[in-house]
């Protein structure tokens, strides 16, 4: 039954959606246009059925010039702004004074429907979002034909209006229209996989292509993941550490880096962020940093590298900001799950201007609170995020990190041969997907950690609240790196010995 439904849906989406709407409006009274009118429910299982989903063209892999209004389209991107317009439109019309006809998703209509008396029309509302590329995600090799540029020519001036909302010239911008309160479930900066109806750009849309959103899925992970088993994890872990050693020349540094790559925000207790772990690797030169960056970029798909030096900081705001009319994207408007590498190796003394000071404040806030600040006139908004952050610097970083470690870059351990086979690469990037996994501390560990803490305090060791919470957090991450669900005493001890090597600022 489901298969049949989706078949009909894929074949002629407009009439399929029309039928669902008409069914829900069958009541003769004035229609109530609240909610999804049953549309989302009808197609919601589509995301579960991978085969069916494959049949729908994906924007990432198709030629945009071949798309036609009214066809289904899948689109992955980041929500740049949830306030891209609010409009009323004719949501339902009365046909022949007899029955109501739903007009959502109906892009074409026959002549007799065209001019309708206004009292035979019920207004509905929809919100628009602006969708653009997921920052840091590798762009797929799209077939870029020269025609596309010419095709877009008539709207080039119009579309210029929105150039502040996209980062690069080649980045796409989509206007996504949400019906029936769907927009309340979407968040700004979220990466989403959308399924909707495509509408070609026109002068009314200011040259932007439109997607009429039908249903969506969170796109935190590239695809559904199968976590490695504990045995596999142990194997992959040592493999990965060998790779890290080749560029870091230091076992502790490699282990620290691995823990950082596996961190995620578990929850927030007011201003206390539980779970995130930002690492500062010092003693890096630009060359060493670039080797680390290229390896990490290779391993994690969504990686953003930001240089932190006087010029870069002073150049332009890294944070999203609004002038009151339009919200401009910032280079660090990131989706949750991104790996952010801050390269401080070229930082030297100099003067920060206004933008620079604000950028540093933004970065500090991102590191300490895991929140992205949106600057609006007279106010600012913070959007909670979950990014993994590594700071590479020569000396101790200027930013508030959780732990600092001076990597030795021991030539004996290092190797210039770092290439990986594609199988290995796949295995390792899949292994790094463990970062999303939950790890719990069993209650019997509580007593152990308590006595451990009390003991070390009494014996006069330099420990405090801050060190303790880093120890606990790292024991979680350590357990995670072994694909274990629960933290054991051994994990805690291993983590503690790592923490001892770090400087906790």
């Amino acid at each position: 039954m489901v298969a049949q439904l989706s078949e009909v849906f894929l074949k002629d989406p407009q009439s399929f959606l029309q039928k669902i709407q008409d069914a829900s409006l069958s009541n003769p009274g004035k229609p109530d246009l609240q909610g999804s009118l049953g549309i989302e429910e009808a197609v919601s299982d589509l995301f579960l059925n991978k085969d069916e989903l494959e049949k729908i063209p994906n924007f990432a892999s198709c030629n945009p010039n071949e798309l036609r209004s009214g066809q289904l389209l899948r689109l992955q991107g980041m929500i740049q702004d949830t306030n891209f317009g609010h409009e009323f439109f004719a949501g339902a019309i009365k046909m022949n004074d007899q029955y109501w006809r739903g007009c959502r998703y109906i892009l074409s209509c026959s002549e007799d429907e065209s001019y309708v008396d206004e009292n035979k029309m019920v207004l509905d509302e929809r919100y628009s979002l602006f969708l653009t590329n997921i920052p840091g995600e590798l762009k797929s090799n799209k077939v870029d034909s020269l025609d596309s540029e010419e095709e877009n020519e008539p709207y080039k001036d119009l579309i210029m209006k929105y150039s502040n909302r996209t980062l690069g010239k080649e980045d796409f911008g989509f206007c996504v229209k949400c019906y029936g309160g769907m927009e309340t479930r979407l968040r700004v900066c979220q990466a989403v996989d959308m399924l909707g109806m495509y509408e070609e750009p026109s002068e009314y849309s200011d040259g932007l292509p439109i997607l009429h959103l039908i249903t969506f899925e969170d796109f935190r992970q590239p695809s559904s993941i199968t976590y490695p088993s504990e045995e596999e994890a142990e194997h992959l872990r040592s493999k990965l550490l060998t790779q890290f050693n080749k560029i870091l020349g230091d076992n502790v540094a490699s282990e620290s880096l691995l823990l950082c790559l596996l961190s995620n925000v578990v929850h927030r207790a007011d201003s206390f962020i539980v779970g995130s772990f930002n690492l500062n690797l010092t003693n890096c030169t630009p060359e060493r940093a670039s080797r680390i960056i290229s390896l990490l970029k290779y391993l994690t798909k969504r990686t953003v590298v930001q240089k932190v030096d006087i010029n870069e900081l002073n150049r332009e705001p890294l944070y999203p900001r609004s002038d009151g009319d339009t919200l401009s994207i910032g280079r660090l408007q990131l989706t949750p799950g991104t790996l952010l590498i801050l390269d401080e190796t070229e930082l030297s003394s100099g003067t920060l201007n206004d933008t620079g000071v604000r950028n540093v404040a933004f970065l500090s806030f991102l590191l300490s609170q895991q929140e992205i600040t949106f600057a609006y006139p007279f106010s600012s908004y913070n959007i909670q995020t979950d990014v993994r952050i590594i700071v590479l610097s020569h000396g101790k970083s200027i930013l508030p990190v959780n732990a600092v470690y001076t990597s030795k870059f021991d030539e004996a351990l290092m190797s210039s041969e770092t290439s990986l086979s594609s199988d290995d690469l796949e295995g390792l990037s899949n292994y790094l997907n463990l970062w999303t996994r939950a790890t719990d501390i069993p209650t019997d560990m509580l007593e152990f950690i308590q006595s451990n803490y009390v003991h070390s305090r009494r014996s006069g060791l330099q420990t405090n609240e801050k060190v303790l919470s880093i120890e606990i957090n790292c024991s979680r991450l350590y357990a995670k790196s072994l694909a274990s669900n629960l933290v054991s005493r051994q994990h805690f001890e291993q983590a503690s010995s790592l923490v001892e090597q770090w400087t906790i600022p």
């Binding site: 065209s114 007011d270 007279f378 908004y381």
Partner: protein
């Protein structure tokens, strides 16, 4: 708004009147449209309408539609009649300056409102139950029969609504005359002395308006609702504002004239008749979040709150166009109808009749002020994970420029929607509608930021009247009930601190102090006296070991405090804190940008790493913390900005770890002048204590245990939202006054505190408390009373305030050497007070043995002997300080003789 200027069919779903949506070549001057009064433009295209056409809006037709201007002037008993005639007669002759209000685009009050023409075919079909005016012979305002309704058996209503003009007028008149203060719901249960209770609020307001020469009446809609006869009117006002508001405007004038009595002076009469009175309704039952505005709200009266992002310059909005025939010179005026002006295609003079000869004469046309404001959601109402939404507001007439960018306002207005894409090929079904709000009332939420130009008297007075009405109103809300309930709980003083930053372990007294800071004392202004203002803001400094959650507390406070600003001392410069002058990107003009302290005016400024600030930056804080202003003199801009902010600062001790052997001033590297400006200084020390350590470890581990975030505290905790609204409510609504017993207690506590440091044996008296401490006590007691939602400061408030100060003082002003509390440790003359009492005593003993019998002794030798005697190293400066102390006590005298300094004992009288 440009796209919305074509607007003949904006009423959307609620007015099924317009059968025709053809667009026309007409002069658009506004996105607004008239109510359902006339079929307007459709006359050319549809034969359905009756003879009366859109030209009806021209004054030329007044002659026929309004009754004869010769209606008797004397019959004052019929208030509806004369002034209207007078007015209409007048307006057709002279330039009808400001003859209508800008926000309501209705013809109701000036024209014959009864001229509601209806498509005859539709009567019965769509509104079979209501009888409708038809034709121009229906009753008008000008008709001298207020009882016409009774004569007719029919109920006449404005088309498409249930509004009967006569009934509405009568009802509103009754309200204006009959509404008394005692009807307000908040007084219902209270006793009120008769003169006050019987005060006819609106009659009084009308009298004041006439005396002051104001033409705005702020109408509290809740009054309308709670006056039983006008309950229907209240509902109609909500549903059909653009019909009801003009009726109300007209009624004001009627009542105004009526109030003049039987034989009013001619000039006053004329004055009133020429004025356009405007009603400005406000205080709707609920304010809608702007993202909740939906199609159902179109053309309804709504109220929204927000932050003004930008205001356009004043836009002249054409209200009446003046056309002259270029052939014969005949002139015609055309009024705006539904947002457009129908340009005459032909000279109306029969003899001339030239086509396309009419030219618009700009300087004889009439314009109204209009401004478009962009209003954005305030940060507190934006749902999590969404960017803020904004709406466009159109304001008219005297509301123009009454709010500035950055103001937080609450507006009452009519939600409008206009179709865009008005090209003829456009299909109705595909047209989109953009929305905006026509504003009828603006209320500034934050009166401290009131930004009106004092020269615009009208605005100020109008605002005053709004404010007066507002002042007597108590907020009635479910939440207030809950707040009051919580405030009565006996464990309130434990519950609130516990709810403040629950993730931070213990530190109850610090949390209590911060809580009182959030509530704040009462700001007072003195008419007499040197200092015009007495600050109610409480400043707190936390000083202590690293990693004792100081920064976390700061972050937390910054999040929940109204206008919290967080800054780090390390990265702050003086200008960053105060204000700086910068060149605006767009205009290239110099503008004054506010720094952290100015931005947190009325809130809390959290400064982390206070000790790492440069001295120059810190010196700025002297002014802020006592005078609560920031003075800027730079680049030709000399100004004093308000910075009425509380400061919550955190500092690390010198050498990053607190040395308990040294006094506070040696631990905190802050000048005493600044330190004394803090009401509370907390020392947060990292002490090794097994039980505390164990609990702390437990607390932290439990936070990391997934899916059990709530086990961080076992006790009941208030949600952060509730805590915030509790604080906001208390700050806004409670202004405690110190009672007689409390003031006595304050005096006693102050005297006691001063006595504390008194040591009968020591010849010098150490000061324990200063007047600054007394002021702190007052502020903290007020804040404590505020927290309990009490209007008076009681003895217990003072006791708690004293206790908090004492616990804070105990930690920070105890001389580690003597155990005595001394504020001298913080102020003045460090040289003397920082010497340990032991050293002075030892030195005194040594001197008395050496100089026994009145001998003198060389100072240099004395130092050598003293060093030999003591086990620890004696610093030369410490030695000098001890010597100075003894000299001050009168035990010895240092004299200089032949280049040597000698110590000479002074005989003690036993």
């Amino acid at each position: 708004m440009s796209s919305s200027q074509q607007s003949s069919q904006g009423r959307g779903a609620t007015t099924p009147k317009r059968a025709n949506s053809s667009s026309r070549e007409a002069m658009d001057s506004s996105p607004l449209f008239f109510p359902t009064s006339s079929p307007g433009l459709s006359q050319h295209t549809t034969p359905k309408t009756k003879t009366r056409t859109s030209l009806a809006s021209s004054p030329l037709l007044f002659e026929s539609s309004s009754p004869a201007p010769q209606a008797p002037h004397s019959s004052r008993s019929i208030p509806l009649s004369q002034h209207n005639d007078l007015f209409l007669a007048g307006s057709s002759q002279r330039t009808p300056k400001s003859s209508r209000r800008g926000d309501i685009h209705s013809t109701v009050q000036l024209k014959t409102p009864s001229r509601r023409e209806v498509d005859p075919q539709k009567i019965g079909a769509t509104t079979p139950s209501s009888l409708i005016f038809s034709g121009s012979d229906a009753l008008t305002f000008s008709q001298a029969q207020p009882t016409s309704e009774a004569n007719d058996d029919t109920v006449r209503v404005i088309w498409g609504t249930n509004v009967s003009i006569q009934e509405s007028i009568a009802s509103f008149q009754g309200f204006l005359r009959g509404f008394k203060k005692k009807y307000r719901p908040e007084y219902r249960n209270d006793f009120m002395p008769p003169p006050d209770a019987e005060q006819a609020v609106y009659i009084e307001a009308l009298r004041n308006m006439r005396i002051i020469g104001l033409d705005i009446l702020n109408l509290d809609v809740q009054d309308l609702k709670h006056y039983p006869p006008t309950k229907k009117l209240y509902n109609q006002l909500y549903s059909y504002p653009q019909e009801i508001i003009p009726i109300m405007d007209q009624t004001i004038k009627d009542v105004m004239l009526d109030l003049l009595g039987t034989n009013p002076p001619e000039d006053i009469l004329n004055d009133i008749e020429l004025r356009i009175y405007k009603i400005r309704p406000f205080n709707l039952e609920r304010t809608i979040n702007m993202r909740d505005l939906n199609p159902g709200d179109i053309d309804k009266l709504i109220s929204i709150k927000g932050l003004v992002l930008r205001c356009t310059p004043v836009i002249p909005d054409m209200k009446q166009a003046f056309f002259r025939c270029s052939v014969c010179g005949h002139s015609v005026t055309v009024e705006i109808d539904r947002g457009r002006i129908a340009e005459p295609v032909k000279c109306p003079r029969e003899i001339c009749g030239a086509t396309n000869s009419m030219q618009l004469i700009h300087n004889r046309s009439e314009f109204a002020d209009k401004q478009v404001i962009k209003l954005q959601e305030t940060p507190d109402i934006v749902p999590d994970g969404q960017t803020p939404h904004s709406v466009s507001l159109c304001v008219y007439d005297e509301l123009v420029d009454s709010s500035k960018a950055g103001d937080r306002i609450e507006i009452t207005g009519i939600f409008r929607c206009v179709p865009i894409r008005m090209n003829p090929r456009q299909r109705t079904i595909k047209s989109l509608f953009k929305t905006y709000v026509d504003v009828v009332h603006i209320k500034k939420q934050d009166r401290r930021r009131l930004g009106t130009d004092p020269s615009t008297l009208d605005n100020d007075l109008a605002e005053d009247t709004a404010a007066q009405i507002d002042d007597v109103r108590r907020i009635t809300d479910e939440e207030v009930e809950k707040i009051k309930k919580v405030s009565e709980r006996p464990d309130l003083y434990d519950l609130l601190p516990r709810s403040l930053a629950p993730s931070i372990y213990e530190m109850d007294d610090v949390k209590k102090g911060i809580l009182l800071q959030l509530f704040g004392g009462t700001n007072k202004t003195f008419q007499k006296g040197a200092s015009p203002r007495y600050r109610g803001d409480i400043n707190i400094l936390m000083c202590g070991d690293p990693s004792t959650s100081k920064s976390q507390i700061l972050q937390y406070v910054h999040k929940i405090a109204p206008r919290g600003v967080y800054t780090s001392g390390k990265g702050s410069s003086a200008v960053g804190l105060t204000a700086y002058i910068t060149r605006d990107q767009d205009t290239k003009q110099l503008v004054l940008e506010s720094g952290a302290l100015v931005l947190s005016d009325g809130g809390i400024c959290c400064i982390d790493e206070f000790d790492k600030m440069t001295d120059a930056t810190r010196s700025i804080l002297h002014e802020v913390m006592e005078q609560q202003t920031v003075t800027v003199a730079k680049a030709g801009i000399i100004t004093t900005l308000n910075a009425r902010t509380s400061i919550l600062a955190s500092a690390n001790p010198i050498g990053s770890k607190y040395n308990p052997e040294m006094p506070v001033t040696k631990n905190i590297d802050l000048p005493p002048t600044l330190l004394s400006r803090f009401d509370l200084v907390y020392l947060i020390l990292d002490r090794v204590d097994e039980t505390i350590d164990r609990k702390l470890a437990n607390h932290i581990v439990s936070m990391y245990m997934e899916d059990t975030p709530q086990n961080a505290t076992e006790h009941e905790v208030l949600s952060i939202e509730f805590l915030t609204s509790y604080i906001t409510y208390a700050r806004n609504c409670i202004h405690p006054i110190i009672t007689e017993p409390a003031s006595k207690e304050l005096v006693n506590a102050y005297v006691d505190m001063r006595k504390l440091g008194e040591d009968v044996r020591a010849s010098e008296k150490r000061v324990t408390a200063t007047t600054r401490q007394l002021e702190s006590m007052i502020r903290l007691s007020e804040a404590h009373a505020k927290m309990h939602l009490r209007e008076t400061v009681e003895v217990e408030d003072v006791r708690e305030a004293t206790r908090l100060i004492k616990t804070a003082i105990k930690d920070y002003a105890t001389d580690p050497a003597t155990g005595k509390i001394s504020l001298d440790l913080i102020y003045v003359n460090e040289r003397e007070t920082l010497v340990s009492e032991d050293m002075v005593r030892e030195l005194s003993n040594l001197i008395s043995t050496l100089t026994a019998g009145g001998k003198t002794f060389m100072v240099s030798q004395l130092l050598t002997r003293f060093r030999e005697q003591s086990t620890a190293h004696v610093d030369a400066s410490e030695f000098e300080a001890s010597l100075a102390a003894l000299e001050k006590r009168g035990q010895l005298k240092v004299v200089t003789s032949a280049g040597h300094r000698l110590v000479r004992p002074i005989a003690q009288v036993e």
